[in-house]
Symmetry: C2
Subunit: 216 residues, 2 copies
């Protein structure tokens, strides 16, 4: 394989290469090739500048890529690309793991909700099977004393929420009896209204209805 000498003979015009004909920076190094050049400057390849621009752009891109990759082993071209490859693989694994964890977390949340819904369905079915209907009764048994009867679906934490709600309403529970049976919760309670709490029976009934509806 031989390249003909006649075709290789060339020269650059002194115009656009005047800035680099004297000294050229090449990756921090100085290309002193000009020192062995002859004096004849005649021919210039057409795509010389194009090739220079192409090389420059490519080097810039390579530097950009270099700046993106944190793990640096070497400054050489090949290692830049290799590091970029390993970094991309790392990032891909990272994304996979994270999305997997996120999916699991969402799945557990969905599971919880699902089991809760199943519980509700179960209790609702059971209540319906036994002809038990949600019910709230409120009756005055004194100026600040109330008798309350609640029949609702049995649900985890429902009783506690009911208790908290009644505390917030300003009810002081004197005595409470709870019976859980057939998927339903029967609560009878004698309460005393304190701190200017609500005393109107109908209003209390509506509020309690809202509460036991809000639980589900």
């Amino acid at each position: 394989m031989v390249i003909k000498c006649a075709k290789m003979e060339f020269s650059n015009t002194s115009f656009d290469d005047s800035n680099i004909s004297e000294e050229r920076e090449v990756g921090g190094r100085i290309d002193k090739r000009k020192k062995i050049e002859g004096a004849d400057e005649k021919y210039k390849s057409k795509n010389l500048n194009a090739e220079r621009n192409r090389r420059q752009k490519l080097s810039e891109r390579l530097l950009q890529l270099r700046s993106l990759v944190p793990n640096i082993t070497n400054m050489t071209k090949e290692t830049i690309i290799t590091d970029a490859i390993t970094y991309i693989r790392e990032l891909q694994m990272n994304v996979d793991n994270l999305s997997e964890q996120l999916l699991k977390m969402e799945a557990t949340h969905g599971e919880e909700l699902e089991t809760k819904n199943e519980e509700i369905i179960d209790t609702a079915e059971e209540m319906g099977k036994w002809g038990i209907e949600p019910e709230v009764q409120v009756a005055h048994i004194g100026p600040t004393k109330l008798w309350i009867k609640i029949v609702c679906q049995k649900k985890r934490g429902g009783f506690t929420k009911l208790m908290e709600a009644m505390n917030v309403l300003g009810f002081d529970l004197n005595d409470t009896s709870v019976t859980a049976s057939k998927g339903a919760l029967l609560v009878t309670s004698s309460v005393e209204v304190v701190r200017g709490g609500i005393t109107d029976a109908h209003q209390i009934r509506d509020i309690l209805l809202e509460i036991i509806r809000g639980i589900y």
Copy 2:
């Protein structure tokens, strides 16, 4: 800038280049430069093969990088690197978003746990302030009838868990009274043991103690 013709004259030995002197694959294209070559083969640069290997390795790396990036705009070297850069940026943003979401989710979970712990501490402090101690009493009031008294910290869902546990133990709750006060929960219940459930009072007491400890 001129490169001397004498220095550019060169040739390759027919040995290690015999496989490529006839035809060379260059990126899917065929380099037919050999057709204009002369017949003189004398000089070979020392690092010719080294440079060839270097270029080959670099091309391989570039191809690897190419295979990793899904979004393809062009097959050119520069676009390969550009696409890789944009892809890396995408992956980084992806990782950031995912980890942020994960952090938020974990934070909400941690919040819940924290509030639960705060609740426990509060009830424990309140109970201690009022001199209320956790307590479980079990007494026989018939062959298959038990009277149970439980004093424990008030905790969301604790009562329901207690009920479920007693259901699992084979207890049928005839009547139950619950009083929540001073951060404590007082439960008195008369239950009937069915389906060959446990009837030994001490054993039941230990189990109930384990349960109310397991709740927290």
